[in-house]
C-alpha cells in the first residue's frame, strides 16, 4: 500500500480537473484514440479479459467476459449503458469520479463502445444528481465540439454519441434490467433472465451495462496493459485499483483509492483515521447495505477483494463500508435498513413486496420495545421466504426475479443471527419485568 499512487482519483481536487483542456494535457483520450485507430474490437475485449477487471457495480463479474456475450454478427444496434444510478446505501464513489474527472468516465465509454461496436451509448444517472448530470452534459458537449463524439470520432469512421439520461428516484433502477426498463420509459421492474441484456437488452437489442468505476479503469488498462493491471493489489484473481467508500463511525469518512485486497483494518484505522471518538469497533457492513454485517472479530486480516470477502461470508459488493462503533444499536440499524428495502422494493414479486413490509413492521415493533421471542424465528422465516436458503458455496436460491430479495434477506438475517442478544433486550416480556 505504501508505494501505491492513486490512478482513478489522481486528479481529484486539482483545479479544472473536470475540463477537457485539463484532461487532454494529462494523457486524456490517448487510450480512446489508440482503441479506435489501432485496435480491433477483439483486441480491446482481450486486453480487458486478460487484465482481470471485475465489474465495480457490486456483482464483480469479469468485464471482458460480459462484453464477449454480445453477439458479433447481430444486425441489431448494440447499446452501452453506463450505470451511474449509485444508490446502494454506503456507496458514494461514482459521484466523485463524475464530479472530478468526467472525461475519464467518457473515455472509458468510448473504449467499451469500440469493444462491443456500439454507436449510441447512455449514461443512466440517478435523478437526484442534478449537478453531476449537468457536468456530464458539459463534458459531452466539449467532446462533440472537438470531434471526439459524433460522426467519425478522432478522424476515424467510427460514429458514437452519448446521451445523459436521468433517473427519477428508484433504487431498483441500479439493477441492470430494471435500469433498461426505466430507460425505455417504464416502471423500473427487473426482467426475468434469460434472455440476458447481452442478447435482449434495451429495445430488445444487445446491451452491456457497466458501472462508472468499471469504465473509468479502461483508459488505464489500454495505456498500460493487462499485466500492469494484474499486478496491482493483493490478489491476481481480483486485481486493480479500487475505490472504497468509508462512512459511519470513522474519523475521516470519504472515498479512498487503494489496491484491491487492502486489509479492511488498514482502511478503517489508517486511511479513515480510526473509530470516531476512539471508541471500540462493533461491526462493519463491508460492501453496501446488501452485504451481511461482519463482527469486529470477523474482520481481522480480511482482505477487501471479491473472493476474500465472499469467503468471509459477506460480499465486497459496491465497497460501501459502513463502520459501526460499540455504542451502535444493532436493532435500530437493522430496522433502518429493512425500512429502506421496504420503501425501495419495486413491488413486482410478492415475496419481496410483502416480505420487506413484514420485516419492517416486526422490526419496528422491536424498536418500540414490543418484540416477541417468537419474532426472531419469524424474521428468519420471512427472510428465507424472500431470499431463499443462504449458502454462499452454492450461490443463492432466491425466490424473486432480481437479487433485491437476497439483498434484503442476507443482511437482515446476519443482524439477527450475529446480534441476537441485542434483539433479546427489546423483548416485551423483559420490558415488563
Amino acid at each position: 500500500m505504501n508505494d501505491f499512487q492513486p490512478i482513478l482519483t489522481k486528479h481529484v481536487g486539482q483545479p479544472g480537473s473536470a475540463t477537457l483542456d485539463y484532461y487532454l494535457i494529462h494523457e486524456g483520450y490517448q487510450a480512446a484514440r489508440q482503441a479506435i485507430h489501432e485496435m480491433t474490437s477483439d483486441a480491446v475485449i482481450q486486453v480487458v479479459k486478460d487484465s482481470g477487471l471485475q465489474g465495480r457495480g457490486g456483482a464483480g463479474f469479469p468485464t471482458g467476459v460480459k462484453w464477449s456475450f454480445i453477439p458479433r454478427n447481430s444486425r441489431k444496434p448494440k447499446y452501452l449503458i453506463n450505470n451511474a444510478d449509485e444508490s446502494e446505501p454506503g456507496t458514494f464513489k461514482d459521484r466523485l469520479l463524475i464530479n472530478h474527472n468526467p472525461h475519464q468516465v467518457i473515455e472509458g465509454m468510448i473504449i467499451a463502445s469500440k469493444a462491443i461496436d456500439c454507436h449510441l451509448a447512455f449514461i443512466y444517472i440517478r435523478g437526484e444528481f442534478v449537478k453531476e448530470a449537468r457536468l456530464l452534459e458539459t463534458a459531452l458537449e466539449e467532446c462533440r465540439a472537438n470531434h471526439m463524439l459524433g460522426k467519425g470520432i478522432f478522424g476515424s469512421n467510427f460514429d458514437l454519441d452519448i446521451l445523459v439520461h436521468r433517473g427519477a428516484g428508484a433504487y431498483i433502477c441500479g439493477e441492470e434490467t430494471g435500469l433498461i426498463e426505466s430507460l425505455e420509459g417504464k416502471r423500473g421492474w427487473p426482467r426475468i433472465k434469460p434472455p440476458f441484456p447481452a442478447i435482449e437488452g434495451y429495445l430488445k437489442s444487445p446491451t452491456v451495462v457497466n458501472n462508472v468505476e468499471t469504465l473509468a479503469n479502461l483508459p488505464h488498462i489500454i495505456l498500460n496493459g493487462a499485466d500492469w493491471f494484474r499486478a496491482i493489489g493483493a490478489s491476481h484473481d481480483s486485481p486493480g485499483p479500487k475505490l472504497y467508500c468509508l462512512s459511519g463511525h470513522v474519523k475521516k469518512p470519504g472515498v479512498y483509492e487503494a489496491p484491491s485486497g487492502i486489509e479492511l483494518t488498514e482502511l478503517i484505522y489508517e486511511l479513515a483515521g480510526g473509530i470516531k471518538d476512539d471508541r471500540r469497533l462493533k461491526a462493519v457492513i463491508p460492501g453496501g447495505s446488501s452485504s451481511p454485517v461482519l463482527t469486529a472479530s470477523e474482520i481481522d486480516g480480511l482482505k477487501m477483494d471479491y473472493p476474500s470477502v465472499k469467503a468471509a461470508g459477506s460480499m465486497l459488493g459496491s465497497a460501501g463500508i459502513m463502520v459501526l462503533d460499540e455504542t451502535t444499536d444493532m436493532v435500530q440499524v437493522c430496522y433502518n435498513l429493512a425500512r429502506f428495502y421496504a420503501h425501495e422494493s419495486c413491488g413486482q414479486c410478492t415475496p419481496c413486496r410483502e416480505g420487506t413490509t413484514w420485516l419492517t413492521k416486526i422490526l419496528r415493533r422491536f424498536t418500540q420495545g414490543q418484540g416477541r421471542r417468537e419474532d426472531l424465528d419469524l424474521i428468519l422465516e420471512v427472510t428465507d421466504n424472500i431470499g431463499g436458503l443462504i449458502d454462499f458455496s452454492l450461490g443463492s436460491y432466491g425466490k424473486t426475479i432480481c437479487p433485491f430479495g437476497e439483498a434484503v434477506a442476507w443482511p437482515v438475517r446476519a443482524f439477527v443471527q450475529k446480534f441476537r442478544n441485542e434483539f433479546m433486550d427489546y423483548l416485551v416480556e423483559d420490558a415488563v419485568a
Binding site: P77, E86, S87, E88, P89, G90, T91, F92, R95, L120, R126, G127, E128, F129, V130, K131, D161, L163, H165, R166, G167, A168, G169, A170, Y171, S182, L183, E184, G185, K186, R187, G188, L203, C245, L246, S247, G248, H249, P253, G254, V255, I285, S289, G320, M322, L324, T328, Q332, V333, N336, L337, F340, H343, E344, C346
Partner: protein, 157 residues
Amino acid sequence: MSFAFTPERKRLFKELVKRYPDKRSVTLPALHLAQEQEGYLGRETIEALARMLGSAPSTLMDTVSFYTMFTTRPRGKYLLQVCQTLACSLAGADQVVDHISKRHQIKVGETTPDGKFTLLKVECLGSCGTAPVVQINDDYYERLTLDKVDRILDKLA
C-alpha cells in the same frame, strides 16, 4: 388549465425525440422537463405529455407513480429532502428533521402555509461520506449541523 411547453422546452423536447432511438424512451426526460416547468405533474400535463409521446395517459401514469421524484401535487418552493438511511441516521438525521419540523411548524410531508417549504424524509441520497445530508431542490447540503441548517434556511426565508 392546459399544459404546453415553453418554446425553449419545446425545442429541447423535439431535440430529445430526434436523439433517442424510440419515442417512449423520452418519457423520463420529458417528465423532468414538464415538472421543472410546472412544479408538478397535474392531470392536464400528463394528458398532454401522453399525446406528445404517443402513449395513453394511464400508461404514462403507470411510469409516473413508480418514481419518488415525480409528484402529481404541487409542493413548496423549496423541497427539503432529508436523507434518513443508515449513514445519515447514525449522524443525526432525525434531529435535523425534528429541527426543521419545529422551526417551520410542519410535519414530514407537509408544506408551510406560505407555500415556501415542503419537508420530506427520503431514502439514501448517495452521500454517506458527508452525512447527514439534505437535498434542497437541485442542491445537496452536506455535513449538516443544526446551526448549519439554520444558516441555510435563513438564506432561503
